[in-house]
Amino acid sequence: MSILLSLPFLVFFPMVISLLVLSPLFTSNEVVLRRFSKGVFGFHFLYTVLMLVFFNSSTPYAVSINLFGMDWIQSMGIKFSLRTDAVSIILVTLTSFIFFMAAVSSKFSIRKNHKFYYSMLMLLESAILGIFTAGDMFLFFLFWELEMVPAYFLIGGKFMENYEHQEEAKTSAVKFILFTFFGSMFMLLGILLIHYYNFVSNGILSASFADITDSTIPFGIQILIAICLLIGFGVKLPIIPLHTWLPDAHTNAQTPVSMVLAGVLLKTGAYGIYRFNYEMLPQSFKVIAPVLAVLALINIIYTAFVSYAQTDIKRIVAYSSISNMGLILLGLCAVNQIGLSASVFHMVSHGLVTAGLFMIAGIVYLRFKDRDINTLQGVATVMPRLFGFSVLIVLASIGLPLFAPFISEVLTVIGAMNSDISVFIRFSALFSLPLLILSSCYMLKFLHKGFFGTVKDEYLKVNDLSVHEFLVLASLLGGLIIFGLCPNSILGMIN
């Protein structure tokens, strides 16, 4: 069995298919392309599930690729190595699942340039999987940069006739790429400094995560490195002053792209903090954690208020994502087992919830050509099935028991309360509790202003959910309920 389960195949399969799809030899027939891509993403998801099932934390998957008998860049000690631990295999599965859902839900939102769209979606999947499985800092950085290219085209590309936000989408794509590049340059500085100081103090010229030990690096340098890295990840996460790209990008992109961005892309930032700061530089992380916890608290509370003030339904969801990412950050700051596992669990549950919410917003926009909750009303009367799903997913996102976010939110707060690093973290945990109330404020506003009321006459004939949309929402909801009922499936793996 272990022969079949290959990490390079997992990571590079979508990339190879994407090049195949992009090549002029491949058909440009819309239906064939759509079915083919759904098949590819579905197959990839099954393959990841298989890898998850056979995953064994005592012998994690690890592989190092040699080109012509040499490491990738031998002179700098850079290896092309991929490997997974429990956290990354969970995130890999989440990635594959969300991409599969996005591909299925692309049927109605993508009306143009199918070839380009699907190929970029696959390339983005490869890049994100690469981030989650990289075993070397520079390889991580390579995938981190590579991911910008497809993400740019997916956000700013023209995939719909007469899309009224096309120009805004273009500018927000440029904003996205410049912000990310800005952050990644700080990150590169951090990586270069770790690479050098690890070589100086330990004598190992290597960039593998496994070979870095922070104990011998001077402490001041460690803090400098940690801050550089945090700026890089903070753009992606996002941490509050660096967040302004996110609402624009998520709002103006097409629905499946928003699902992918919020569901998976943001998690790369959290994963980076876990992989670099939490795991590799624990000493400095313990010093920075209180500051980060306060930033996380600001994230949680401030964006919850901002979200309440929004009138655009996609913007409400986008700001709620930032708020939830603050919670994930808080879980990491606790630096204990409960905090970490809760944080990873919240990545998964928030990925599912936010994909569902963006899907709902996208469906509403497709039918009503409107995203403003002040003018939008009566969706519930014409689309009862959508309403049913919306109620369930919104309740899940508020943190109702039975759904996954409840467990992860409560566990995060418990983890942070138990943190023995600093009193600031415990305070942050205490003050983040109002999130549960605030999130119900903005989420219920989303629900009741948009869905209730009397529908306008011209929308009386709107169709309810199609099969595709039904399946996507049902599987996301199914995931939420399964993990809500047996959270130990994820928590157990991390412990």
């Binding site: 590579l146 500085l189 690479h195 050098y196």
Partner: protein, 477 residues
């Protein structure tokens, strides 16, 4: 004497022979035979490349009373310069068709420039260096103003003035150095420096020498020419201007810093500051520009400043990164200008004029896009590897240079913005009523664009071989 020629100067002499042949033919042949000029020049360059195998490099060879030298380092630079020259010759088909009367002269001057560039790299004496730099400057001046019109003349004149002034500064530095050491020979100067205490005036002279040479790279005090010169120059000549003089001057600057000019902190710090100023100026200037040529001019200046900063922090490792960066950069630049050459010299170079070109010319526009994202330093291209490799060199040089590194890294974010400005219109959707042109291309242009894009991607995937070569060269200097 004869030994010297056969041991190290055979490629130079082959080129010299072809220069004379081309000049003679330019006098006796009628313009109808303009086609053959390109072939003759290509044959000459290939001959010189073949003759590189005769150069003796192990051990280092000093010829003509120590005034020229050869080792594996000069051999590599000679090879890269000649290869670039060959590609530029391939690209010049359209140019000579427009200037039939001057075809033979054009190639004679191009070969002279290549000759001068090779001579700069192998110089071991400030006198040889001065003569070669002047020869390079004057040939470049003629190449820039080859076409008719106001802009090329303005460009050529600006280049001439700048290069004259910078040579003055260079000579001033050399005269100080002569005053201190009493010799113009690199080896003798190095001996003197290692035996005696150096003074403040020595650092001043070293900085003046570097700045004087730096004018060819468009580095800070003499950076302004690059805008007007690029704007008024034909794309073929730009492919030359952005590669060969740079390779040659970096070749000699790296060696000057390694052995005749000692590596004192003052020199390094001043050069680092100058590089940072150049990068700041070039990157911010490009933001508000809309002309593709001007943006590429700024990018050339900015890239030169990154390399100059690294090469001033002398170490073997840094030298290997510099060589790797220069090679990757030369490949990408030639490819970019080959695409612009395909696009045509007589058209507008405003970024909006390129809109939608992708829809009629898929392959080449994608190649062009790959080259541009390579210049911006995004994977999977050689530009990404080269930039990381270069920046590791700065990071390894101590905490003092971390602020400089941070500055450069942030400036590359700005650089990404202007590369996107060139890149995005290519893929723009067009209205039905504006027709996108299908580019008229010839085989050699296609070859250069495709080959450079392929090399860029291949080096991005498996760079280790070339890096090993660069390290070998750097260890043997």
């Amino acid at each position: 004497m004869i030994n010297d020629i056969f041991n190290i100067l055979l490629p130079h002499f082959i080129l010299g022979g072809f220069i004379i042949l081309l000049l003679v033919l330019s006098m006796i042949l009628s313009p109808r035979f303009y086609r053959y000029a390109r072939i003759i020049s290509a044959v000459g360059i290939s001959g010189a490349i073949v003759c590189l195998s005769t150069v003796q490099t192990e051990p280092q060879y000093f010829g003509f009373k120590n005034s020229v030298m050869a080792d594996s380092y000069t051999l590599l630079f000679d090879f890269v310069i000649l290869a670039c020259g060959f590609l530029i010759t391939l690209l010049s088909k359209n140019l000579v068709r427009r200037h039939k009367r001057h075809a033979y002269t054009f190639f004679a001057i191009l070969l002279t420039a290549i000759f001068a560039a090779m001579n700069i790299v192998s110089a071991n004496d400030f006198l040889t260096l001065l003569v070669s730099v002047e020869l390079l400057g004057f040939s470049t001046y003629f190449l820039i103003s080859v076409s008719k019109g106001y802009l090329p003349k303005e460009a050529g004149f600006k280049y001439l003035i700048t290069s004259a002034v910078s040579t003055g500064i260079f000579l001033f530095g050399v005269s100080y150095l002569y005053g201190i050491t009493g010799s113009l020979n690199f080896s003798a100067i190095y001996e003197y420096i290692t035996e005696n205490e150096t003074s403040f005036i020595y650092a001043v002279s070293a900085i003046m020498i570097i700045l004087g040479l730096g004018a060819k790279l468009a580095v800070f005090p003499f950076a302004n020419w690059v805008i007007d010169v690029y704007k008024g120059t034909e794309t073929t000549v730009l492919a030359y201007l952005s590669t060969i003089p740079k390779l040659a001057v970096f070749g000699i600057i790296c060696r000057l810093l390694v052995f005749p000019l000692s590596n004192s902190f003052e020199i390094v710090f001043v050069i680092a500051v100058i590089s940072l100023i150049t990068a700041l100026w070039a990157n911010t200037y490009a933001i508000r520009e809309n002309n593709v040529k001007v943006i590429l001019a700024c990018s050339a200046s900015a890239n030169a400043s990154y390399v100059l900063l690294t090469s001033s922090l002398v170490s073997v490792y840094n030298l290997s990164t510099v060589i790797f960066y220069l090679i990757c950069y030369a490949v990408m630049n030639i490819g970019v200008f080959a695409y612009l050459n395909m696009y045509g010299d007589d058209k507008s170079f405003d970024v909006s004029a390129f809109s939608g070109l992708y829809h009629k010319n898929h392959g080449f526009t994608i190649s062009y896009a790959i080259l541009l994202i390579g210049l911006a330093g995004i994977p999977i291209t050689s530009g990404f590897i080269a930039k990381i490799y270069l920046f590791t060199a700065i990071a390894n040089s101590g905490l003092v240079f971390v602020p400089f590194l941070l500055g450069l890294l942030l400036l590359t974010v700005i650089a990404l913005y202007y590369y996107l400005k060139i890149l995005l219109p290519l893929f723009q959707e067009c209205d039905k009523n504006t027709s996108v042109q299908k580019l008229r291309t010839n085989f050699s242009q296609k070859f250069v664009v495709a080959a450079s894009a392929i090399i860029t991607v291949l080096l991005g995937i498996c760079p280790e071989m070339l890096i090993e070569l660069c390290k070998f060269i750097a260890y043997n200097i």
